[in-house]
């Protein structure tokens, strides 16, 4: 919790602020560890396409840069799964199962898969690494996806879908 913050501001953080700041710093720290060691900037959505090269001969998924990175990207994604599991074991928050409906997860997921790959990156690639790189391209992408997501979530809620 940020000390001394006015109550009007804290009303926008009903769950507090500490976990957000610490979590965000850790997300970037995980990326930084890999970057400082290898100069690789590891986004999270490229994994979707490089992994498809194992089961598809579509040319887009079998580009040299994808074939060269597909194995460590699998290792990276599985390590993210394991890191989150470790959080569950260490802090023992109890089980969490989302109440967001399966059609929202699947349908939204399809659009996330299309959009992040056409748009050259996701929340990690554009949001964390691209903004950190002061990239105008990333800023444009982030402003668009955050803005459109706010409108979309508001419309979905207004239609009475909960959650």
């Amino acid at each position: 919790m940020i000390e001394g913050a006015p109550e009007a501001v804290m009303a926008f953080f009903p769950r507090g602020t500490t976990q957000y700041l610490v979590g965000g710093v850790m997300v970037a720290a995980g990326i930084a560890v890999i970057y400082l060691g290898t100069a690789i900037i590891p986004g999270n959505s490229t994994f979707l396409e490089t992994t498809l090269s194992y089961v598809s001969n579509v040319s887009r998924f079998n580009r040299p840069s994808y074939l060269a990175s597909r194995d460590w990207r699998v290792v990276f994604a599985l390590s993210i799964v394991a890191g989150a599991a470790l959080w569950g074991l260490v802090l023992d928050p109890g089980p969490f199962v989302t109440r967001v409906q399966p059609w929202r997860l699947f349908g939204g997921g399809v659009l996330v898969g299309i959009g992040t790959r056409i748009g050259k990156g996701c929340t990690a690639g554009h949001g964390v690494c691209g903004l950190g790189s002061a990239s105008t391209t990333s800023l444009v992408n982030v402003v668009l996806f955050v803005g459109v997501a706010i409108v979309t979530a508001t419309v979905v809620a207004a239609l009475g879908v909960t959650p």
């Binding site: 602020t17 976990q19 957000y20 700041l21 965000g24 710093v25 850790m26 970037a28 720290a29 995980g30 930084a32 970057y35 400082l36 060691g37 290898t38 100069a39 498809l52 579509v58 040319s59 887009r60 840069s65 060269a68 990175s69 290792v75 990276f76 993210i80 799964v81 394991a82 890191g83 989150a84 959080w87 569950g88 989302t98 997860l105 699947f106 349908g107 939204g108 997921g109 399809v110 996330v112 898969g113 299309i114 959009g115 992040t116 056409i118 748009g119 050259k120 996701c122 949001g127 964390v128 903004l131 950190g132 990239s135 391209t137 668009l144 803005g147 459109v148 706010i150 979905v156 959650p163």
Partner: protein
């Protein structure tokens, strides 16, 4: 524009994969800790009920910004790959905008993005497999269509990441 380092399989340093594991563990822990692995927390942000996501993305962008500045100004080559450090830049074109809008609709509907989805699986949220399956379907669909249109008119598609 120079291509990002991609960790080619030839002559990899023995510590390469262990470092990828370490980075993934830290990021996965952070995504779970930050609440981003829960679609409800993201959807609360998108409806202005809980602005915590700004702190997550902002905090992360500040740390990654410092990392990029230090590496590109004060360090020469990465110890495990010998590659030069670069910033994450992408060419601006129509696809960046179209992709951002499509991603935004998907994120607003589902409340989940790729990295957070992997972490969500780690905290035992099995229904997130719907979202991960959807992401693969979406990634396959765009890749299939782009490969086909590229085969028809090889000069109409610009190279990207």
């Amino acid at each position: 524009m120079s291509r990002d380092a991609d960790g080619s399989t030839t002559d990899r340093h023995p510590l390469f994969l262990p470092l990828v594991v370490l980075g993934g563990l830290i990021q996965g822990f952070g995504l779970a800790y930050s609440g981003m692995a829960r679609p409800e927390v993201v959807l609360d942000f998108l409806q202005f009920d809980d602005l915590g996501l700004i702190l997550v993305m902002g905090g992360a962008a500040v740390v990654s910004g410092l990392t990029f500045v230090v590496a590109t100004h004060f360090l020469d080559r990465a110890p495990l790959s010998g590659d030069r450090y670069g910033r994450r830049t992408r060419s601006m074109d129509r696809n960046v905008a179209i992709g951002g809008v499509v991603f935004g609709v998907g994120w607003g509907v589902s409340g989940i993005c790729p990295g957070a989805a992997y972490a969500s699986l780690g905290i035992g949220n099995l229904p997130i497999l719907w979202a991960i399956a959807g992401m693969f379907v979406g990634a396959y669909t765009q890749g299939y269509l782009r490969s086909r249109s590229q085969a028809e008119s090889p000069h109409s598609i610009t190279a990207d990441d």
